[in-house]
Symmetry: C2
Subunit: 367 residues, 2 copies
């Protein structure tokens, strides 16, 4: 007889797969001891944090003993000013991960239906399961979100729909018109959450203007992050832009001090550092073009990307190539856990990192 | 007809009261513009963060663009070494707030019973409601936890019991023998969560040794924080010490990067700064004794406290006294929201802060 020494793990959590983050520098250094490491597996900003954000964090050390602003008031005011909205349209969390969790906490009852896509960020399904939602996974078409299939699957039990745009890990996107048509097709009591973690990098003219769309569709929530273009992945600051009604709901469910002091201060400073953002986007655009060209020369299929990464299918085993790249100190992201066994995701790096990656990949093919 | 523009707020969340944190310096400065402010309402460390923690935060600025260690490995190893346990006995969260939320997320199904006390920290009931638990509130006896009443109330539907020791806001505690007897009386599949946020300050010889008790009672979880004695409230680092089985469960439900880089680095540095902790405890002990003596001289009833604060009942209206103290720039915590309308909680401060508080209080009584 087994004696129970704790309560049972909740049944709804049993399907959860442990999330495996991109490999860290320490992990690869320890396993392969390469001469040089280029970390291109986690879509971090290769330029690092901006000078204003670093300065903000250095200056706050003496204030660490005081609780942070529970409302993240200064940061929300700055986000509002930048977007032409009100502070009441913004909700800040401990990374967009927490924002997504709290959206589910606020609206999802056990058995409510949640729609997610295949080949996307793990967290949408994760947060749905934490609140015992019934997860329906809508297959992609040619690796793209099949929005008409989402519409067709939505019924009276559907509470939340999670979309990632541009999508991680493919970099593909749906347009403003696609999203408007999709929103028009749905009942207004279905919440459509569009995760725009890579939205700052998107330069397609028809990329959705979610700030404008939510004026007509108040059931639209856009989620963004300071972890990517703003270079603050180490701080965990994400936010939702939504109707004041939704933000008010979310604020009732959050813990009082969910975003810590360095996170609030550095995000505020980063928002005011237009120069660092410009350098970041410039470097990314150039790198994306040259990496695409070189990958295609090596016989890879490369998806057009609106993010700070490329998703490519090499001729030959993606697993073998990833293993080789890791040994050479190039950390990329194998996409088997995203259901894309033959694809690899690489973050657009600095020129040096991009060269390191391309040299290692060429060496693999000529070996 | 009202047109719904969002999903309905969950029914189980409707009883949630908005949490009102202790007033901030900015808030009091803006409302009363006093000459001087002593922030004694949030039980922060009046000495501030220690020098090692500050140094750690200043030194990490350039690394902010990289995701933090998902496992908080260094911090957990240091916690384990300090407690004579294994890293697998520790789970770190975004403040103990998140640790408590994740305990509920891991084990609490809708309708499961949760036992909490009256006159205690708000968060135990909060996390239970987020997971639609049935909250039973057990009244205190003479302001102390009535552990036999908790035992009597526990039944087959009871999943979690939350206790705070020493209790916030009273400072009262239950002993090692009390807790051992209580654990002995319960089925082992009831999780007993003892929040020891102020545990480092406790100097009573019979204060529970939870690290030892959990060897015999694996359903015991101790929760601690770096926000109080370690002076890092601005960073939000809390942790659970528990059986490896429970920690493994919790890790499956947490978001990958729940504790940010400054939080991990500063907490690690603070753990290694014995000198700052010693100064903190020394200042607190002296301040507690002198404040108690002076408060009693002014005719107040003062509860014996094992924390870094005193809970006292003044002769006269607590609300009027709090209002007067705020005007004089002394931020204390009125306890009406804890169901203790006639009591006030004051953080033990520096000698200057304590004098500021006592002078203002004396002035009120002699007016």
């Amino acid at each position: 007889m087994t004696v129970s020494i704790k309560p049972a793990f909740r049944n709804c959590l049993l399907p959860l797969q442990p999330y495996v983050p991109g490999s860290s520098t320490e992990e690869v250094a320890g396993r392969y001891a390469p001469i040089r490491i280029s970390k291109m597996g986690s879509n971090e900003n290769p330029l690092g944090p901006g000078p204003k954000a670093m300065e903000a964090v250095r200056n706050l050390a003496a204030s660490l003993s005081v609780y942070p602003d529970a409302s993240a008031g200064d940061l929300r005011a700055a986000l509002a000013a930048a977007a032409g909205k009100k502070p009441g349209n913004f909700f800040v969390g401990n990374g967009s991960d927490e924002v997504l969790l709290l959206i589910a906490a606020t609206y999802l009852n056990p058995g409510d239906q949640v729609l997610v896509g295949t080949h996307t960020f793990f967290n949408y399904e994760f947060v749905a399961r934490v609140f015992d939602g019934e997860v329906h996974t809508i297959p992609t078409r040619d690796l793209r979100y099949d929005l008409p299939a989402f519409s067709a699957a939505a019924d009276a039990r559907t509470k939340l729909i999670f979309l990632c745009n541009p999508n991680n890990p493919t970099g593909l996107y749906f347009t403003h018109t696609d999203l408007a048509g999709f929103l028009y097709s749905l009942p207004r009591n279905v919440l459509v959450v569009v995760d725009e973690a890579y939205g700052e990098y998107a330069d397609a003219e028809d990329f959705p203007d979610t700030a404008a769309l939510m004026e007509d569709f108040p059931n639209l929530v856009a989620v963004r992050t300071f972890s990517k273009a703003y270079g603050l992945a180490g701080l965990r600051v994400g936010y939702a832009m939504a109707s004041e009604t939704i933000v008010k709901d979310l604020r009732q469910v959050k813990m009082p001090f969910n975003v810590n002091l360095p996170a609030q201060k550095a995000a505020l400073a980063a928002l005011g550092d237009a120069e660092h953002l410009e350098r970041t986007l410039g470097l990314n655009g150039e790198g994306k073009r040259s990496l695409t060209r070189e990958l295609e020369k090596l016989g890879c299929e490369v998806l057009p990307s609106q993010g700070n990464f490329l998703c490519f299918q090499p001729p030959g085993s993606a697993a073998a190539i990833c293993e080789y790249l890791f040994r050479q100190g190039v950390i990329v992201r194998p996409l088997n856990r995203f259901g894309l066994d033959r694809w690899i995701r690489v973050t657009v790096g600095t020129q040096n990192q991009n060269s390191h990656f391309l040299e290692a990949l060429s060496a693999f093919f000529s070996a």
